[in-house]
């Protein structure tokens, strides 16, 4: 691990100023991703800015519009077990509990989860060329072992996926990320927060290098009963998604009034297509309808060889998650546990 200086700012303004003073520095929250990356020399920040004790970012609070604000420091465990969230946003609680382990969820924060880096093995190995680590170095994954890689939105420069479960649910729920920087605060909708690699795979998100996430805002609850988060992984617990699906429906008189669909493990961001959701609107929740939505959502999917199976798998999980959501959500075991 490299040498670094360590500071512990006590306000958002101080934290932002500390970052402006050390552009190559890093904020550290739970540390569960950053420390891991520093141990493998993938990250070598000269300064660590520990935001773990900045007051005002560790609460879940009601918003005037009926939504909820989750402070950037609220841990994944607290979000998942929060009563208001379990009642109004069960999809989010279910997605978080499908990820990592109890120990990790106790440390992992909402902000850190949004900004966790890809789990591409080549990214984690500094002896391998990687465009995400070093601009222009080349991509060892293309033509390599690609079982965990993207089938949608990849580029010739990078085929990595975003590993988060929480973000898939946040994308489906159309959460908004609140950020603060030297020039003030702004809001970034989830759909625009993570970016596709294009020719800048080194940039995972649209967050400025001098900005910090302060909270994630959930809009007033619209999907409380017919939701499902289904995650497929190599073993039934404690593994990253091969494919995951967040499905949320509003049903009225046997028809779908409104739908949200997001896929995880398939692209560098939670994958949504408003047209797929539009295709469900006004229809009966049956297999033909679900099939059509899957066609649209997976349009253009392309495997890299090892991961070709993900295309069929994503469709199957999508259909199952939609059926489960239509039937009134997850059974007691949770779709992720048995899938």
């Amino acid at each position: 691990m490299n040498r670094f200086t360590y500071v512990r700012p006590v306000t958002v303004a101080d934290a932002v100023a500390a970052k402006a003073g050390a552009p190559a520095g890093r904020f550290i929250a739970g540390g569960t991703n950053l420390v891991d990356l520093m141990k493998s020399d993938v990250e070598r920040p000269p300064r660590l800015i520990d935001i773990g004790r900045v007051p005002g970012m560790d609460a879940v609070t009601a918003l005037p519009d009926g939504g909820l604000r989750i402070g950037a420091l609220v841990t994944n465990a607290r979000v998942a077990y929060d009563r208001q969230i379990a009642a109004a946003y069960p999809l989010l609680a279910e997605a978080i509990l499908a990820g990592a382990s109890a120990q990790l969820r106790n440390a992992a924060t909402t902000g850190g989860n949004l900004l966790q880096r890809t789990r591409c093995h080549y990214f984690y190995d500094p002896s391998m060329p990687c465009n995400k680590r070093t601009r222009g170095a080349g991509c060892a994954a293309i033509g390599g072992v690609t079982r965990m890689h993207a089938i949608l939105g990849a580029s010739e420069h990078c085929i990595a996926t975003h590993p988060s479960d929480m973000c898939v649910a946040l994308a489906a729920l159309e959460a908004v990320v609140q950020v603060s920087g030297p020039h003030g605060a702004r809001a970034i909708p989830m759909a625009e927060f993570h970016r596709l690699p294009g020719d800048r795979p080194d940039l995972d998100t649209t967050l400025g290098a001098d900005e910090m996430v302060t909270s994630v805002d959930l809009p007033a609850a619209r999907f409380t009963t017919h939701t499902a988060y289904m995650k497929l992984r190599d073993r039934a617990s404690y593994a990253f998604a091969i494919v995951s699906v967040a499905a949320a429906l509003r049903l009225r008189d046997g028809r779908i009034e409104e739908a949200r669909l997001a896929l995880g493990g398939v692209a560098q961001k939670p994958w949504r297509r408003p047209e797929a959701e539009e295709a469900l609107r006004g229809r009966a929740p049956d297999e033909a309808t679900f099939d059509r939505a899957a066609d649209i959502l997976l349009d253009g999917a392309r495997g890299q060889g090892d991961n070709d199976f993900k295309i069929g798998l994503a469709r199957a999980v999508l259909l199952r998650a939609l059926a489960q959501a239509a039937a009134g959500g997850s059974d007691a075991q949770g779709g992720h546990a048995r899938a």
Binding site: M1, N2, R3, F4, T5, Y6, R8, I28, G31, T32, V35, D36, M38, K39, L48, D50, G52, A77, A100, S101, A102, Q103, L104, N106, A107, S237, Y238
Partner: protein, 159 residues
């Protein structure tokens, strides 16, 4: 950069100088001298280093030492009450829940956090609580049974 770090360790005050980048696991084992938490993977995937920070289970290998300033850290070394073993320790012995014993300190702490929060857990809750702890010897069943048995034993689950 050496940083002074003070925290409570198994009920007493600990004060050390941590080298920049040292994990809580290294500080506990090499500076405080508490070798109960074990180094398995160093990457958050095995749970052998599980300790309680302010009562909640955390992975000491991914916790930067500086970040526990002023916190309460409990390891398996702090489970006993004087000479009396914690019910979990007794149950792990009587149920043969340890073979090589490498995972045991981490298992015990994950289990203690569960019993503190939920004194009469279901089997599913036990499985979920130790899902982040790998054991390559026991096949897990004896561990799950030991935790369920400890939950039935009299005596304080908190110290």
């Amino acid at each position: 950069m050496r940083t002074p770090v003070q925290f409570r360790h198994n009920g007493t005050e600990a004060a050390v100088f941590a080298d920049g980048g040292e994990s809580l696991l290294t500080v506990l084992r090499e500076r405080v001298g508490d070798t109960a938490p074990k180094y398995g993977c160093g990457q958050g995937t095995c749970g052998a280093c599980t300790v309680l920070i302010d009562g909640a289970p955390h992975l000491a290998c991914l916790t930067l030492a500086e970040t526990v300033q002023g916190r309460e850290v409990t390891t398996a070394g702090g489970l006993k009450d004087g000479a009396a073993l914690h019910p979990l320790q007794t149950a792990f012995m009587s149920h043969f829940a340890a073979q090589c014993g490498y995972c045991t300190p981490g298992m015990l702490m994950a289990a203690k956090a569960l019993l503190d929060r939920s004194p009469r857990p279901t089997r599913e809750e036990v499985v979920e609580a130790i899902a982040g702890n790998v054991c390559r010897c026991t096949g897990y069943e004896p561990i799950i049974n030991a935790i369920l048995a400890a939950a039935q034993m009299p005596g304080p689950h908190r110290y």
